[in-house]
């Protein structure tokens, strides 16, 4: 049985432009949620978001691109995170990579930030037509491949907010089946008027800071970000003397099959995803030392995720926390951001706190971890759930 390990990682979120900055913020309770400054929206003064405080020009400069105005924000964020992952796990990038390195990327809105800016122009003339080509979800994947010099198989998928966990899942399988030697898996999503207004009309945005697993929670804060990890077989990583961050021990995707946007009352899909991921890992629930929850802060998600956790783990529920109050909900990138946070938990033997919590949900028996906590962490379960009842879980183990 091929074991899949993580040998590289990179990220950019509202709490830092690399993994080190993110870790420092997590340890010092420095969250990234605040008023909207860069996105041009009428909701600027009324809604909060976890915005990355760099303009597109600044992001282009960070990623070493000279013609940054031709890139969508989604691509720019993706390039920054994927390059870091490549450098930490594979090496210097830029020359053609003739090995079987695959990019499996995800996004929910793709190039919507440019599309919503130029949509009327698109309909009238060809002036901004180059952004017609960047509209679909695969554009950022190609930009990443080109930037890193990767020529092997690429893939893009989109299953709403569980997207990037699913990229890791299929990436691991590609290696197991000998279709790729290493996979750069992750996701990227920029804030857009489209998603901000979408979530706003669904009335699931908290006007203040999101409060996952709190009895008084009223919704989520949107965020933006990108993160990628490098997956390899254990044998390949060992042969090259790679630093191994963790092992991907179990993964699963299930469908709630209940409603397009709401979870079933007992969280059946989340339960199935967690259970199957645990089964594949061969671990008993009691061996899980920490759960990095999806925990968006919506009424529906936190209750049903909590019930599903109880169904599997009660009465001995491991420490649970959601890191969404730091990064906001970053949609396609959320799953892989949580994966990197879980890897940091294993590395640092730390549980990062669930901010903004004060009162337990009545129907649940547990409350989330509120303070930074030192703990012995060998195995972490992380969840990512999305629209369309798309539920995914991953088990990460110390290597």
């Amino acid at each position: 049985m091929t074991r899949i390990v993580v040998t590289g990682m990179g990220m950019i979120t509202a709490i830092g432009k690399d993994t080190g900055e993110n870790l420092e913020s997590l340890k010092t309770r420095r969250h990234g949620v605040g008023s909207i400054k860069l996105l041009d929206t009428i909701h600027k003064d009324e809604l909060l978001a976890a915005e990355i405080r760099f303009t597109n020009d600044e992001l282009a400069a960070i990623s070493g691109i000279t013609d940054g105005e031709r890139y969508t924000r989604t691509s720019l964020l993706g390039l920054i995170a994927a390059s870091q992952a490549y450098e930490s796990g594979i090496g210097k990038y830029g020359d053609t990579d003739n090995t079987r390195t695959t990019v499996v990327s995800t996004t929910t809105v793709g190039g919507m930030d440019k599309t919503e800016q130029y949509y009327r122009d698109f309909l009238e003339s060809s002036k901004y037509s180059h952004f017609v080509y960047t509209h679909d979800c695969s554009d950022s994947t190609r930009q990443i491949s080109d930037h890193l010099g990767i020529r092997h198989l690429n893939s893009t998928l989109s299953t709403a907010c569980s997207s990037s966990i699913n990229a890791i899942l299929i990436g691991a399988k590609m290696i197991k089946h000998g279709l790729a030697d290493r996979v750069i898996a992750g996701g990227t999503d920029a804030l857009s008027k489209f998603t901000l207004n979408g979530f706003n009309t669904l009335m699931i945005l908290d006007k203040g800071h999101c409060r996952p697993f709190d009895a008084s929670r009223t919704g989520l804060n949107l965020g933006e970000g990108a993160a990628y990890i490098v997956l390899e077989s254990e044998a390949a990583a060992k042969k090259d003397n790679k630093k191994i961050y963790c092992e991907i021990n179990g993964y699963a995707n299930a469908n709630d099959a209940y409603h397009q946007t709401a979870s079933s009352p007992d969280g059946y899909g989340p339960y199935l995803a967690m259970k199957e991921a645990l089964d594949i890992s061969g671990l008993k629930p009691s061996q899980i030392d920490y759960i990095n929850a999806h925990g968006t802060g919506t009424d529906n998600n936190d209750l049903t995720e909590g019930l599903a956790i109880e169904k599997i783990f009660a009465p001995d529920i491991p420490p649970v926390s959601s890191t969404k109050p730091y990064t906001g909900h970053t949609l396609a990138a959320a799953g892989v951001i949580d994966v990197i946070f879980s890897i940091l938990s294993i590395q640092q033997q730390l549980i990062f706190p669930n901010l903004n919590f004060s009162r337990k949900i009545e129907e649940l028996s547990f409350e989330p971890v509120r303070e930074l906590q030192q703990a012995e962490i060998d195995h972490v379960l992380t969840n990512s759930f999305g629209f369309g009842g798309n539920d995914s879980s991953l088990v990460l183990s110390k290597y």
Binding site: R142, T156, N255
Partner: protein, 355 residues
């Protein structure tokens, strides 16, 4: 890795609904846009649901229903979709509302349905299917991603019955946008004469091609997917040739074993030369076909080509209208290679074989 096609449900600009093979009355269209011939949705969707569903969702749900019935499968073990643009109609509806009303007075319905995985998710809700549910959104490799995932699953568990699809819709606005961007031929009189209209641009299309695939043999299987691979931005002709030869060699085949090659020729003079070069070199002497005059160019058109190939293999007859040259299609027709690329960026090879 093998994926036997057990069931089919196909909506396209041709009479593909309920048909295994291209019907004899080929549909011709004036101008540069081909629309799907939509079936009577009554049989598959309740009226109250139908009113709330966008066009692509209606096409997807009914093609899925047809396909499941055809295969005699009540509950698939996985739902794996490929779509280049996803819910383009609903996405534009919500986007227009944002722009027209300056982010005010919005309702959530079209946003809810704009998520790329809506078709797969909706099918799951209708069937109460709690299984694996993925949606690939990778340009002209969207269906290929879904097919590869299906084949990986079937090599792990050949008993699975997977609902696999390629689906895309063309909307009025997106047609206008892509027309302005130079995607389509301006002065074409009809689709069947696609190759007579030299110059840049293709013709727009759409479709929903659904399959039930399984690793198990059965007398009712249509054909089998015997291979899928993709390559990216080839830097030389030799690289392309080597890739095609290696793809076949990996499956213990050579071009001698290929009885028909279906190419993604789309009439766009900027890019078609790659196919024509192969016609004169590597593919010399082979019967060559094309299909985009029948369904138009769209991101998941290779799923229509796969439907076409499956029908040819099942019926052992090849419709004249797809043939590009006079090289004879030898019988029995055992192996069909589909080679499709878009703008010389993402290239895909799909191999279909008799069962």
């Amino acid at each position: 890795m093998e994926a036997y096609i057990r069931g089919i449900g196909n909506i396209s600009p041709q009479h593909s609904w309920g048909n295994v093979i291209l019907a004899e009355d080929i549909v011709s269209y004036e101008g540069n846009r081909l629309n799907c011939i939509e079936p009577d949705y009554k049989e598959y969707i309740k009226p109250i649901q139908r009113r709330r569903m966008g066009r692509i969702l209606k096409m997807g749900v009914s093609a899925a229903g047809k396909c499941l019935r055809d295969a005699g499968v009540d509950m698939p073990d996985a739902i794996i979709m490929g779509t280049g643009l996803g819910m383009q109609g609903d996405t534009e509806k919500f986007l227009k509302a944002i722009l027209d009303n300056d982010e005010k007075f919005l309702t959530p319905t079209s946003f809810i349905q704009s998520t790329h995985n809506t078709v797969g998710a909706h099918i799951a809700v209708m069937l109460k299917c709690n299984k694996y549910n993925f949606t690939y959104v990778n340009d002209n490799l969207s269906f290929e991603g879904a097919l590869l995932d299906s084949m990986i699953r079937l090599s792990d568990d050949p008993s699975e019955k997977i609902l696999l699809a390629g689906i895309d819709e063309m909307t009025d606005s997106y047609f206008c946008i892509t027309k302005n961007a130079g995607f389509w031929k301006e002065d074409i009189s009809d689709n069947l004469g696609l190759l007579k209209h030299a110059g840049p641009g293709s013709i727009a299309g759409e479709g929903a091609s659904f399959f039930i695939v399984t690793g198990e043999t059965h007398p009712d299987n249509y054909a089998r997917f015997a291979g899928i691979d993709t390559f990216y931005k080839p830097e030389s002709d030799k690289e392309i040739d080597d890739f095609i030869i290696a793809f076949l060699a990996k499956r213990s085949l050579s071009l001698d074993d290929i009885d028909l090659i279906i190419t993604g020729i789309n009439g766009d003079s900027r890019w078609d030369s790659g196919y024509f070069r192969l016609q004169d070199t590597l593919f010399n002497g082979k019967p060559l076909a094309y299909y985009k005059h029948l369904c138009g160019e769209y991101y998941t058109s290779s799923s229509f080509a796969s439907w076409l190939a499956a029908g040819i293999l099942k019926t052992q007859s090849c419709p004249e209208t797809i043939l590009l040259n006079n090289n004879e299609v030898n019988k029995p027709i055992r192996n069909i290679l589909i080679y499709n690329y878009l703008r010389n960026t993402n290239h895909a090879l799909i191999l279909l074989s008799v069962c």
